[in-house]
């Protein structure tokens, strides 16, 4: 093969510079039966990168429960998970990280994260209906962190708002461990008629292959595996390592894609995210067990003189690969023309199992598709792992050494304005949360986002959750808690948990302590998913979230959960409805302040074991609440999480300005009672006239429950001691982040 990239001599050093290991280079030579040329080596380097191949994680990901009665596509089989929601409909949903791009360029990094995850949904034929996100930043007293937060929020807003899909939920935490490496995880969910989905597959000899959407540029190439400059001509130096998003083109691409899928002229399609054309051509071909001939010079490019490997690896946004049925080319092209988008024939499907890439008639790469992909030739590694040393410090924690503060009102207000606990209104009002007219939680707040499925009696229930402080304290228990909390939120909204998607944000997998966190988090997550019958439908792994100076971020396995509200009459909200309603706690208070925000921030104790958690009890609590909702015995349900019971009660009071009058448990430390974060607890309110029926229903269940007190007109009272009026708490809670951002 004679071609342009032969100018660059390929040796083991070249392979190393591209991020390949020596044994991987040997493996490539043995697969090809010869030394690869530079284009081919580039292809292997991105396809065998962690991002595309999951080589350091797949061994453990496979241990997660990945099957269930509602699943229409298995994890990893399609671009996103696909779950049967009845009425002939399915929900496609997935979460994905865009951490590193956002750390460098927060605005574009976050924006393109939103773009990428939505393409994963509509490439399956599903129309996105809701977006969520999970964000982590360092402390807001730091100017750079404020800059990152502003940029990320504006990036998510500008992209999502223009794209026109509501951003309905999410979570945001602030901790010093994320100062250098913030986390930006974006989730999207879409709806499609079952049986009308498109698949990321290619087959059928002679079928035409189109590239559609934006032109291909040099953006994003550096973002993959290229780090050193001597492989490149100097002209690349000015180009951004981060891709640039264009939500307008994405919106057109959405409409055109759904229109073209509906014609039935499409064999398969896949969006181009990481590793661009090479990833979509190889994954689709490997899945369909066919080959492809592609003429790279036909690809519309933004710059002149792009080399074959640049075209193959470009991560330019808003592009798709479409394999159509032969003879229906015009039909396909007309639709993209209507939407003023490129739709260019670049090749065709072959009966071989090989990918042949040509540039001006010359063969530049000849590779077996199977050899590139996960489940095929991509390497799979077992990494070593050791229990981290810091866990020893956690074990030494003894809460008897922590004095109970005398002024508990002071603690309460300290927590109300803690940015990780306080209202995220400053952020969320910058997102269009109402476009699409499906968001049921705008006017009736609930623990999870509830999305109306028009013309049915159903709604989607969506949440993202992960308290990474717990995962740091114990990866196994912390990850199980993340799943349990997500399920709890779905249940509190009246939904039934169906399935999860996960975004596994960890440090460097070659660090045995980091890998230990990963392995144990997977174990805990799997156990909890089995208990709640919520299989893992896919997601993404993001390693290397760390800086050289400050070490890895907290292990952060973010859980995105899909639930279903089977009847809208069972929609449940989180807020107090009327003074005099009775407040009950389902689950039990524990004498436990371990790992709470109170212990961590107020007492500044950074090492302690995870909070109390019992999977069986948690499950029983959730079942009991579901029953009570379905029997219409409760007026509100809000789970106890960050900040403990006091924050839970205050949040439930704020929406309609009600307070509470409760009594604590004499056997439990007062700070543990009010601010401890023991899991498996839900606060519900009950109408006095329904109390007897409610108690009967609870006695039938296996959950513990206790009456705490009642809803007041506005004053917050614990054991006769006033904590002030709810309006004061509300003002503190709602203005905390805005005030910090103005400073």
């Amino acid at each position: 093969m004679s071609e342009v990239s032969e100018e660059i001599h390929v040796s083991l050093d070249t392979a190393k510079e591209l991020g390949l290991l020596p044994e991987e280079f040997e493996k490539i030579i043995s697969i090809l039966g010869r030394t690869p040329n530079f284009t081919e080596l580039s292809i292997y380097s991105v396809m065998w990168s962690e991002h595309c191949s999951y080589k350091n994680s797949i061994r453990w990901l496979k241990t997660l429960p990945r099957e269930g009665k509602h699943l229409l596509a298995k994890a990893g089989e399609e671009n996103a998970g696909l779950v049967d929601i009845g009425d002939g409909l399915a929900c496609a949903f997935k979460i994905e990280s865009h951490n590193h791009p956002s750390a460098i360029e927060p605005y574009q990094g976050a924006a393109t994260g939103v773009g990428g995850i939505n393409r994963d949904i509509f490439t399956m034929g599903a129309r996105p209906v809701a977006q969520l996100n999970s964000l982590r930043f360092g402390n807001l007293n730091n100017e750079r962190n404020k800059w990152l937060l502003r940029g990320v929020v504006k990036g998510i807003g500008d992209y999502g708002n223009a794209f026109g899909i509501p951003t309905v939920g999410g979570e945001i935490y602030f901790d010093d461990c994320y100062t250098v490496n913030p986390l930006v995880n974006a989730m999207s969910a879409g709806i499609v008629e079952a049986g009308k989905t498109a698949s990321a597959i290619s087959y059928g000899k002679g079928n035409p292959v189109f590239i559609v959407g934006s032109a291909t540029g040099r953006d994003g190439i550096h973002g993959a595996t290229f780090a050193s400059g001597d492989l490149h001509a100097d002209s690349h130096e000015d180009l951004p390592a981060v891709q640039v998003g264009d939500p307008f083109t994405e919106k057109l691409l959405l409409e055109a894609s759904l229109e073209v899928i509906a014609t039935g002229a499409v064999v398969g399609m896949q969006d181009m995210g990481a590793a661009g054309i090479i990833c979509s051509t190889s994954e689709m071909s490997a899945k369909g067990k066919h080959g492809m001939v592609v003429h790279l010079d036909q690809v519309p490019t933004r710059q002149k003189g792009m080399l074959p490997w640049e075209i193959l690896l470009s991560e330019s946004q808003e592009r798709m690969l479409v394999v159509a049925k032969k003879g229906r080319e015009t039909e396909v092209q007309k639709i993209f023309e209507k939407w003023d988008l490129n739709c260019v024939l670049i090749g065709e499907v072959t009966e071989t199992d090989r990918l042949h890439f040509y540039m001006h008639g010359e063969l530049t790469a000849d590779i077996s598709a199977e050899s590139l992909v996960l489940g095929g030739g991509a390497p799979v590694y077992e990494r070593e792992y050791n229990e981290p040393k810091y866990l020893e410090k956690n074990k030494k924690f003894n809460q008897e050494n922590i004095a109970i503060p005398g002024d508990r009102k002071d603690v309460a207000y300290f927590l109300l304005k803690n940015p990780s606990i306080a209202s995220k209104k400053w952020i969320t009002t910058q997102y269009d949360s109402m476009v699409g007219t499906v968001n049921m939680t705008t006017n009736e707040p609930s623990d999870a986002a509830v999305i109306n499925i028009k013309d049915t009696d159903k709604s989607l229930v969506l949440t993202v959750d992960c308290n990474s402080r717990y995962v740091y304290a114990s990866p196994e228990i912390g990850a199980a808690i993340a799943v349990a909390e997500a399920a709890r939120n779905v249940v509190c909204a009246g939904g039934e948990p169906l399935a999860i998607t996960n975004c596994l944000n960890f440090g460097n997998p070659y660090n045995p302590e980091v890998y230990w966190q990963f392995v144990n988090a997977i174990k805990g997550m799997g156990d909890a998913c089995k208990k709640f019958d919520t299989p893992v439908t896919g997601g993404n792994v993001s390693f290397y979230n760390q800086s050289s100076d400050e070490g890895p971020v907290f292990p952060t396995p973010t859980i995105g959960m899909l639930g279903l509200l089977k009847s809208k009459k069972h929609f449940m909200t989180l807020y107090f409805k009327e003074a005099g309603d009775l407040i009950y706690l389902i689950g039990t208070s524990q004498n436990d302040i371990s790992c709470s925000e109170y212990l961590y921030s107020y007492h500044n104790i950074k090492n302690s074991p995870p909070p109390y958690f019992n999977l069986e009890e948690e499950y029983a609590v959730q079942r009991a609440v579901t029953k009570a909702i379905q029997r219409r015995l409760i007026a509100s349900a809000h789970d106890v999480s960050d900040g403990g019971l006091f924050i839970c009660l205050a949040e439930a009071g704020m929406h309609r300005q009600f307070g509470f009058d409760i009594n604590s448990d004499e056997e439990i430390r007062k700070d543990a009672f009010l601010f401890g974060e023991a899991q498996g607890r839900i606060v519900v309110t009950v109408k006095p006239e329904q109390e007897d029926t409610f108690i009967d229903s609870m006695l039938e269940s296996e959950a513990e429950f206790v009456k705490l007190g009642e809803v007041t007109e506005g004053e917050m009272i614990v054991d006769g001691e006033s904590f002030g009026d709810i309006l004061e708490a509300k003002e503190t809670y709602f203005n905390a982040i805005g005030n910090l951002m103005q400073d």
Binding site: N161, T429, Q430, Y431, M434, V435, V438, M440, N443, N452
Partner: protein, 237 residues
């Protein structure tokens, strides 16, 4: 003062980048039970519509200035002609921006005072009942309707503002939940809390808040439906 249509046909213009088109179509078609046709921006035919709607969104991406490109769309020639002849045209959010850009409505919509996109429920109050949009609205009690825009601060020169006031062209002002028009209740810095206006002939209307987002009882707020009821009942009588 309004035409008596036995049958009302709404034409909703779809620009590339419109994203509230389906929301307003759902409101008109399913909730208000009206006939609706979709008008593609490249077309020159209003398909016999009696009432044209320009929906919200980010027409052409709004990369230059909101609404600045959409006014050059082929279909806008017909919309301008239709409006000139007295036809009803209603722009919501980006639609309002397009109507200002195209000169069908006076004034301009500028960046919100806080320079951020703002999406939240606000309150607005109809100024009078003397228009197609407000005929059924209570001028005393406010309506809760969401806004969602980055450029929604209404601006016009003093003379224009005076004329708007004198001619009853101001349809809605931002207010608090008790109906008081105050600075605190002005979400974006609009002059005189202006949330919606009409042209002098009162056949072209624009508003920044989204009444179609407050029309479905399944979303627990139907305050915006009053505006659609006004439109439908007035023209049907």
């Amino acid at each position: 003062m309004f035409s008596n249509f036995a049958h009302m046909k709404f034409g909703v213009v779809i620009f590339p980048g419109s994203n509230c088109d389906e929301d307003i179509i759902y409101t008109l078609e399913t909730i208000m039970e009206q006939e609706v046709v979709r008008l593609w921006h490249k077309e020159h035919d209003l398909k016999g519509s009696d009432f044209i709607v320009l929906p919200g969104g980010f027409s052409y991406g709004d990369y230059l200035r909101s609404g600045a490109i959409a006014r050059f769309s082929p279909v806008m020639n017909e919309v301008l002609e239709f409006a000139d002849k007295g036809g009803f045209v209603f722009g919501v959010c980006n639609g309002f921006q397009i109507l200002c850009e195209s000169g069908l409505l006076p004034g301009a919509l500028m960046h919100n005072n806080n320079r951020q996109f703002i999406c939240k429920n606000i309150f607005l109050k109809a100024e009078h009942n003397d228009s197609l949009l407000t005929s059924q609205c209570d001028t005393k009690s406010p309506l809760k309707v969401p806004i969602a825009h980055g450029e929604g601060k209404y601006f016009a020169d003093e003379k224009t503002l005076q004329l708007l006031n004198e001619n009853g062209q101001i349809l809605f002002r931002y207010c608090d939940e008790n109906g008081n028009v105050t600075d605190e209740s002005n979400p974006n810095g609009s002059l005189q809390n202006i949330a919606g206006i009409s042209n002098q002939k009162k056949n072209v209307f624009g508003m920044m808040p989204h009444p179609e987002r407050a029309a479905d009882e399944e979303l627990f707020n139907t305050d915006g439906r009053m505006i659609f009821e006004s439109i439908v009942s007035t023209v049907k009588v």
